[in-house]
Symmetry: C2
Subunit: 176 residues, 2 copies
Amino acid sequence: MSGNTDTTPPPGPFDDVFGANADYVENFSLAGLEPLAARGLALVTCMDSRIEPLEMLGLGPGDAKILRNAGARVTDDTLRTLVLAVYLLGVDRVLVLPHTRCKMASVSGDAEVHRLIETRHGVDTRSLEFHTDNDQLGALEHDLERIRHHPLLPKKLPVAGAIYDVDTGKVSPVDL
Amino acid sequence: MSGNTDTTPPPGPFDDVFGANADYVENFSLAGLEPLAARGLALVTCMDSRIEPLEMLGLGPGDAKILRNAGARVTDDTLRTLVLAVYLLGVDRVLVLPHTRCKMASVSGDAEVHRLIETRHGVDTRSLEFHTDNDQLGALEHDLERIRHHPLLPKKLPVAGAIYDVDTGKVSPVDL
């Protein structure tokens, strides 16, 4: 790898994060972790910057596979990732965890997002499916069903849903 | 939300993580974070359980949008998520960060994964695209290009790639 890797951080917009990594390496404590999820969990959650997905569930590095996208939606990308996680990486249970005050659940639908981006930035995004849904629990139920009935995932794989409250830290299981 | 939310953790395979959340709520320190990424970064990385994506880059909760799937690949799901992150959630730079010893880069290709899962579990996964690629830097270059040339993302959006070393914690920028 070293032949193709420039180990000198280039000047520019990523200097701060590449620079900060030097301290991390100095105090690195995660060497020796196994590639298998030690506690068997795959967590599907949102990209949201307010979410710290391990501590909220009493987990640490090495314990879980973490999948994140806009809205914690179960997309085809999520499903191919879960198939790999289950059969090759020690995952034996899946939790899907959207959160309160999510932009993806606070709009009336994709059309509103398209209008918002067009108005603010002059960009026509109508060729994209954003997977917004203002019925958050309905969307979660749909997403849980996509996993539970996927023909390539084990029929008895435990699959649960919960909502993370960004204001209190509470994870509330939902019975769907 | 409370009307449809069962706040009593059900007995079963998620008891440990739901139970642990009670302590987290008790000591919750992230209230009041803004939905916008405070430091403007979107990080695309792998679901791998060995990765702690914030500390390694000197980031904390609230700073960055985190996107994770198998292999840190830039899929259509990644792209729709980045469009939302850039236009609605304060993201103004993107770092794509695969890692060393990634299963997705250590096989000869999808065919090997299909054979492995068939042999170990008797499941025929050949209908899926896993997006494995044993040329990790080639895949990363491809993925950076997908973002850089996406017609709906800003032409001047800074986009960088780096490799995370799971044995040392080092993030090595790559010039692609």
